[in-house]
Each structure stands twice: as C-alpha cells, then as structure tokens.
C-alpha cells in the first residue's frame, strides 16, 4: 500500500501527451477508490443477507471489517500522494485525523445537540413543548426513586470501591503473595455485568424456609438460625445495597491496581524517615500515604462515580428495575424504548450529561494547562 514515490510516468510528448498522462492519472485515481467501494459494498450486502454458516459469516465479517478500514486509509492516502506537493501537504493531515473527527462528530457531538433538541419536543418528537419534559422528569415519582437510588449507587458504590481498593492495595503491598492476591481481586473486571448477575444469583437466591437454601447468603443466615430473606426484592430500600455490592465486587480491582501503583511511587525514604521518627503505621498511612496519593484517589473516585452514574446492566439483569431499584439509565431505557416517550427519554439523557459536565470542564482545564500541545 505504500507509494512513497510517485508512479513513474512516460516523459510527456507535447501538450496532448501531457494531457493524456494527466487524464490517465486522474482516471486511475478515480477508478481505484470506486473499485474499493464496490468491493466493500458487496461485502456489506453479503454479511447482511447471506445465509452462510455462522462461522463463515464471522470470519468474513472480521476480515471485511478490519481489512476494509485499513484499505480505505490506504486508498485515500494513495490518492492524496499522487497529488501535487501543495495539495498533499494540505490534505494529508485530514486523511489521518478526518475519519476520527467525522465519527466523533456523528456519534457523540451531534447526538448531544440532537438529543437536547428532542428533549424539547413532545413524546412523538413533533411539537415543541419547551422545558415541559424536564419538569416532568424532575417531578415524576419513578424518576425521583431513580435519582435517590443513583445517589445511593454513587455514594455507597464509589466509597466502598475506593476504600476497599485502598485497603487491599496497602495490605497486598506488605503481604507475601501480592501478585496472586491482586489477580484474584482484579479478575471480576473481566466479567460482564450480565455474567456477574448470574453469579450473584447463586449468592442471593431465596428458597422457602422448609427447603434447603441454594443461595449462599441465605444458607449462612439459616445456618445461624435466621429467616431466609429475599435480598434483592423485598427488603426495600436496602435491596439496592445488595445490587451495589455486585458492582463493588467488579470495580474494587480497578481501584486497587491504581492505588497500588501510586503507593509504589511514594519515595521509600519519606516512609522510612517517618517510621524512624516513631510514627505508628496508622499515622504513616493517614498523614503520609493518603496525601501523597490524593490525586490518584480523586481520579479513581471520579471514574467510579461516573461509572455508577450510568449503571444499567446489573439492575436490568437482577431486578429489571422492579422492587424500587430503578436507576436513571434504566428509566431512560424504559421511557424511550418501552413507553416510546421520546421527549421524556431524551430529557433523562440530557440530565445524565449535565451530571458529568463538571468532570468535562475539569478535563478541559487540565488539557489547556498542558503546554506541549
């Protein structure tokens, strides 16, 4: 695909020869992209309509998707490099940056504006209703429950993940098996939230008192002489906490890894000096470690808070949003895709966006401070 040197052409004989080579060049420059598009289009049609065995389709899809993108870049670049130096230097940056920018605009920047616009229209996206959807969202009882639960998710979920992650990082740092320990704590991060839902069903499942319990938690409770509980459904609003535990289980590994790296970055002399001065381990932890890794703590907390703000899968799989466990993202899904109330659903999405705007501003400010750019 690399054509670093222009394709050698015959010395032009006079005006017509010159014209002929140029026309030929332009034709080739047009034909190659057209052929590429036709080939890719055929691949798309095959994937959409074919009844070939699943394995064949999967293989074709991978080759077509990955190869297609590489081919498009190659061809676009080939065309640009056949142009004059002037055009090439102006166009080539956009071959490199253009596709990314176009996709970002199509998939994120424009949809933000469009969703905002939809949120000002009625449920069929026909009539302009102003801020009516926002008033409805903020006063709706289901939404208020969702806001309350999301707050619970963000506060309890984030603090548990951060505190546990920090404690485990400190313990692992001083233990004899830190690599194995970290791998085990980190492992759930590779599991989908749907899979985690299935896993935790075997912890939370409840059976009648007379039958043997097949959920571990109830087996323990009954073994200690208690009554089996329907952890995720009946004991409202505490059932939310049992769902949050699942995400803490998934997310703590993330926090732990980052904290562990940050703790390793604290100069050993500082810790040693404090210990020689007679500081207790707890003092070292609170007055030296915590302040030194404060920026990591803030980053991790922000990441986990944003993650829990958008929490969806766990709730949908475990309770379907019933039993008072609705959150903002499940409400969004229900309003938009089940109730088909487009205005209301869009307003919820905009509220989610508004909630992350402080983080966005913080990121932009940090970026502006970077002098290198």
């Amino acid at each position: 695909m690399q054509h670093s040197t222009p394709i050698p052409t015959a010395t032009p004989n006079g005006f017509f020869g010159h014209l002929a080579t140029n026309v030929g060049r332009i034709l080739i420059s047009l034909i190659v992209p057209i052929v590429t598009f036709v080939v890719l289009w055929q691949g798309f049609l095959f994937l959409r309509d074919s009844n070939a065995p699943k394995l064949v389709i999967a293989l074709v899809a991978i080759v077509w998707g990955v190869g297609g993108v590489a081919l498009l870049y190659g061809v676009a670049n080939w065309v640009v490099e056949r142009m004059s130096e002037h055009w090439r230097s102006h166009l080539q940056p956009f071959i490199f940056v253009g596709p990314a920018v176009a996709i970002l605009i199509w998939y994120l920047a424009l949809p933000t504006l469009r969703t905002f616009w939809f949120s000002l229209l009625d449920r069929e996206s026909v009539n302009f209703v102003g801020l009516q959807n926002y008033v409805a969202v903020l006063t709706d009882r289901g939404m208020q429950e969702a806001f309350r639960n999301n707050l619970l998710w963000m506060v309890v979920g984030a603090s548990l993940s951060v505190v546990l992650g920090l404690v485990i990082a400190v313990l692992a740092d001083r233990s004899n098996f830190d690599r194995i320990a970290k791998s085990l704590i980190f492992l759930p991060m590779a599991i989908s939230m749907v899979g985690a839902g299935v896993i935790w069903n075997f912890i939370y499942e409840v059976r009648d008192v007379a039958d043997p319990q097949i959920g571990l938690l109830n087996a323990i409770v009954v073994g200690l002489g208690g009554q089996p509980q329907a952890w995720t459904s009946l004991i409202q609003p505490w059932n939310n906490l049992f769902l949050i535990v699942i995400v803490v289980w998934l997310q703590t590994g993330f926090a732990m890894v980052l904290f562990s790296a940050a703790i390793k970055g604290i100069p050993a002399e500082i810790l040693e000096a404090a210990r020689v001065d007679g500081a207790k381990e707890l003092q070292v932890f609170f007055s030296i470690m915590i302040p030194s890794i404060m920026s990591t703590i803030i980053t991790v907390t922000t990441t986990v808070v944003i993650f829990t703000l958008k929490i969806f899968d766990v709730v949908i799989v475990m309770t379907g949003g019933q039993f008072g466990t609705e959150v903002i993202a499940t409400q969004f899904y229900r309003q938009y895709f089940s109730n088909r109330n487009f205005g209301f659903g869009s307003a919820i999405a905009v509220i989610l966006l508004v909630a992350v705007i402080p983080v966005m501003i913080y990121n932009l400010r940090r970026f502006r401070e970077q002098e290198a750019f």
């Binding site: 492992l187 759930p188 839902g197 944003i306 999405a349």
Partner: protein, 370 residues
C-alpha cells in the same frame, strides 16, 4: 535493648500474620462467587435446583437409611409410637430425632404414607456432569421429570451462534477504533494543520460524555440507513463510543516518542504514511495493546449497545443478550445459565490473564493521566 528488639520482631511477625490472614480472607470472599458459578455449571439440573453448590464439599446431612410402612393399627389422629419415639402425625411429618441420633420422618399423606429412618452422615454430592455445556453449546435436548412424574422434553440453548456473533462483533469493534485512533493520534502529534487544537479539544471534551446521549439519534440514523442489526452498525457504534479515550491515550503515547527518530526518517524521504505504518505503529505496540484489551473487554461484556442496535435481529444476538434473555425468560433453567455464563467468561478471562501486564499499564495511562 535486646528485649525491645525481640519485642519489635515479634510484633512484626504478628502484624505480618495479621496482614496475610486478612488479605487471604478478602481474596477468598472475592473468589467464592465465581467458584460457585464454576462448580454449579458442572452440576445436574436437579442438584442445582435442590441444593447449594457447596454441598459438593464434605458436609453432614440426613441420609436415608431404611424405610417401612407404618403399622395400620396406629391412631393417626392421636399420639403414635414409631421406632421407640412418640409424637403426633404433624410432629412426625416435621421429623423427630431419636435419642441415638436418628431421625424418623413421615413421608406422604396421613393414610398412605411411608416412614423414613435417616441418619446424619458425612456426604459429598459429587454427581458432576458436562451435560449443561452440551445443552447450551449444541442445543441438545434435555428432559425434566415434573412433579406429577411425567417427563417433559425441552430444547437446550444454542450458545455457539451467539458466541460466534460476539467474536464477529468484538474483534472488528476492537481493531477499527484503534486503527482510526492511531491515525488521528499521529496526525495530532506530528502534523500541523488548521483547527488542530480545536479538534483535539473536542476529543478531550467528549471523553466523559455518557453514551446514552447518543443512542436515540444514532438509532434514528440507523433505521434510516438500514444499518440496524448489522455488524457494521454495531462496530461503528462501539468505534464512536471508544474513540475519544483511544485517541487521547494513543496521542499521549505517540506524542511522547522521541522526535529524532521521525526527523531522520523524514530526511530519508519517507512519507507520513510510511513513517506511520513502518515506524510508529510498531513502536506503539504497548499502548495499542493496552487499549485493545480495554476495548475488547468493554465490547465483549457490553449489553446496552448490543441491546439497542442489535435488539431487533435475533440471529445477530451476542452472548450477553442471549444470557440476559435466559435470565428473563427461563428463570428456572439455572443449569443453562451457569454453563452459558461461564462460556461467556472464558474468552475475556484468557485475554485478561495472558495480557494482564498491558492491561494494568493501560489503566494507569488512562486514569492517572486523564
């Protein structure tokens, strides 16, 4: 002096035991849920439904030792004596313990029941099987004996198709954004063009935008373009949602590469495209790999994007959708769920363990800097 030294050594050993002990306990708690699923996936349908997965470990349980018909002459509405213990029918129904540690229990109804004698013994339920995996992988049929004794045949579930769909969605949805982001990162780092700063500000601003904001407009576009339920549609969606982070991470890495390597390549007359493909991509492998793992796990484990953009086409369903559907529609078929969930976890776990080092590095690049 020496006594205080000994004392502090003893303290050290004590705190070391404490630290290792607490950590081991936490690790155990963290691992138990996954072990429970793994064990359950090898248990038979009936075992899963009637006993906890931990019963494969040695435990004490009432084991049935003998049975006989109660003497017809017993007064079933009053107090009866059976095998040396006395009680009413209701008490026998609940089970009465004999002084020598046995349990007498009345099974069945008052007129026509059976007496079971049970003893508490150490047992293990080690009746393990691969059948759940066969059921979900090949759609093999399985039989259920219902309460009334009749046998019902149920179709298993075909996870193989969903697995292949997941592969066909995930691999391109991982490679495409990386390729596009790498080109863009190179462009931002090593090319000068108007609007460069503005466009990169856009990338940074979009880093935290929740994808919910995009679902509705993009779905409308897809319906119009007939992209709904196609691989291309899902790839592009994942590309769009993963691109800000990918571009940002790769930009940080590529802009940090030593400048003189590139300058000497330019002097040798190499074009941007050659430098990018021959020099930058190979040099960026660590950064590419760490983002690749991220994106792979994210796409493979994704449920929401698949639900919205594939939802209407059952034959393109990915694993998470299939799994969530069984949770919903076949709440009782836990044996299919266990095996299905484990199959969905195998590939990410392999990727995760074999590339863990890259993954950790990527996490740090993405979070400590961002």
């Amino acid at each position: 002096m020496s006594t205080t030294m000994a004392g502090s050594n003893k303290n050290k050993r004590l705190s070391s035991i404490l630290i290792n002990g607490v950590l081991a306990l936490i690790c155990l708690i963290w691992t138990i849920p996954t072990i429970g699923l793994l064990v359950s996936s090898f248990r038979t349908r009936d075992d899963i439904q009637t006993s906890g997965w931990w019963t494969i470990l040695p435990h004490r349980e009432w084991v049935h030792t003998e049975e006989f018909k109660p003497d017809p002459s017993l007064d079933r509405d009053g107090v009866m004596e059976i095998s040396g213990v006395t009680g009413t029918f209701q008490e026998f129904r609940d089970g009465i313990q004999t002084p020598d540690g046995k349990r007498i229990i009345w099974i069945g109804n008052k007129r026509n029941g059976t007496i079971y004698v049970e003893e508490r013994e150490w047992t293990m339920r080690t009746d393990l099987t691969l059948e759940n995996y066969q059921n979900v992988l090949t759609g093999k049929q399985y039989q259920i004996t219902q309460a009334d004794g009749s046998v019902r045949t149920e179709q298993g579930d075909n996870f193989t198709g969903a697995f292949l769909n997941s592969v066909a969605v995930t691999i391109p949805a991982t490679v495409i954004p990386i390729l596009i982001a790498a080109f863009a990162a190179y462009g931002f780092a090593w090319m000068r063009f108007p609007g460069r700063r503005l466009l990169f500000t856009l990338v940074v601003a979009l880093l935290v935008v929740p994808l919910q904001i995009s679902l509705v407009p993009i779905l409308r576009d897809y319906v119009r373009l007939d992209l709904n339920g196609t691989f291309l549609g899902v790839w592009l969606a994942h590309t769009g949602f993963g691109l800000p982070l990918a571009t940002y991470l790769l930009y940080n890495y590529i802009s940090g590469l030593p400048r003189d390597i590139l300058e000497s390549a330019f002097i040798d007359g190499a074009s941007h495209f050659t430098i990018f493909t021959r020099l930058i991509l190979p040099l960026s492998v660590p950064a590419l790999a760490s983002f690749a793992i991220f994106q792979f796990l994210w796409v493979w484990n994704d449920y929401l994007v698949a639900l919205i953009f594939i939802g209407s086409k059952p034959d393109v369903q990915v694993l998470t959708m299939r799994l969530a559907e069984i949770v919903g529609s076949r709440g009782a078929d836990w044996h299919l769920l266990t095996a299905g969930a484990f199959i969905s976890m195998i590939l990410p776990l392999i990727v995760f363990f074999s590339l863990q080092r890259f993954f950790v590095r990527g996490l740090m690049a993405g979070s400590v800097k961002g």
